[in-house]
Amino acid sequence: MFKFAYHKPASARKALEMLSAMKGKAAVLAGGTDLIPAVRRGKAAPEALVDIKGIESFRGIGISGNSVVIGSLATLADLVSDPILAEKLPVLALAAAGMGSPQVRNRGTAGGNLCNAAPSADLAPPLIVLGAKVRILAPKGGRTVPVEEFFLGPGRTLVSGGKGILAAIVVPLPKKGSKSSFHALTPRAAMDLSVVSVAASALRVGGRVAAVRIALGACAPVPLRCAAAEAALKGSPGGLEDAARAADAVAAAACPISDVRASEAYRRDMARELALRAVREVLGL
């Protein structure tokens, strides 16, 4: 049994009031698949949990204007099975399908994966290359920021410490003809964290790479958007040599740690390899 109080507000406004009143000593509870084990292991010791599952506006996946809006409470299983994502953003379904186990995916949420802010968070690289933004609610109003600006460090985001709540993820509908890919390396086939992950998106127009985004996971304190790798490809013919230069730039951007899962050198090598695969896939090479 754990020692914390439990609150389940029915509105975002009430939830924000509670978080403010607790001055950083309360944690937001969504699916709990990261938070409850963290409390169990003594890595988190919140005095109170604010369960946001009663806030209906945080639910659902739908199209609004030119964007797909994913409620922060959408589960990973929702991402895997949602027909809108399957048609418009299959790379997100692919990334979600590789996370945790069916039981974890039934419970864990899209918002939780971002707010837990593991450097290996598998939704982050695909969301970054899709140009997604997070809609944040805070006591002094809300704002919408690109996913790559949401992370501050391992376990730390713009909403950490009760500063706000992630309400939704807003993903612009991809331009016609653009492609996205996600490649993750896990030593085990299931129930494992990514040692390295790379996502890419690209649009070819008239024999040139007109738009490209590349993001790297588990190789830095936060998921990284790789501007140098993108610059290596943008405007190029998008051939194999261009892809290789982009992959080298991804490896150069990586600043991984050595830990129980992999060494720094291995991660850097695999960042290059996965980047090459991800870029070749979106360029049709």
Binding site: M1, F2, K3, F4, A5, Y6, K8, L29, G32, T33, I36, P37, R40, R41, L49, D51, K53, A77, G100, S101, P102, Q103, V104, N106, R107, A189, A190, M191
Partner: protein
């Protein structure tokens, strides 16, 4: 204490629970339903899997207070009127049980899986139990049992 109203295996309970009590501990210690096993207590092994509103979850990382208004199905509630569920029968027939510790969780996970995918391939059955660890069987007999149960359930549906 948090008041909750929860249906477990069709029976409705109105109880007060401490906020830190997991669904697993509520089932085992609060209701005496010890068929659900406590393994890793960290959401890694699947031994404590139950159905929460029809979805398989690790009950060790769900709080009882989160389940207010929900329906829970445990291994004790799977058989109907004394007849074993086809999954239970198939696990016995195929030798899918050795020490038995993972079995309730394995069967509850597969109960949701077969409800969504009544005609799975062995590869799909294997993927379905990726979050359920078994240290005895090597999984082969479990996968066979899931396929056999799917067949038995289809036969029953036609009858």
């Amino acid at each position: 204490m948090i008041p909750i109203r929860i249906a477990v295996n069709g029976d409705v309970y109105e109880r007060e629970v401490p906020p830190g009590t997991t669904l697993l501990d509520f089932l085992r210690d609060g209701l005496g339903l010890t068929g659900t096993n406590a393994g890793c207590r960290a959401g890694d092994c699947g031994a404590c899997t139950v159905l929460l509103d029809g979805k398989s979850v690790n009950s060790c990382i769900v709080l009882a207070c989160e389940c207010d208004g929900s329906e829970v199905l445990t291994i004790e509630g799977l058989s109907r009127g004394g007849a074993l569920h086809p999954l239970q029968q198939a696990f016995m027939d195929e030798g899918a049980v050795q020490c038995g510790f993972c079995t309730p969780g394995m069967i509850m996970r597969c109960a949701e899986f077969l409800a969504r995918n009544p005609d799975p391939t062995p590869a799909e059955a294997r993927a379905a139990i990726e979050g359920n660890i078994c240290r005895c069987t090597g999984y082969e007999n479990i996968v066979r049992a899931v396929i056999a149960a799917a067949g038995a359930m289809k036969g029953r549906a036609k009858a």
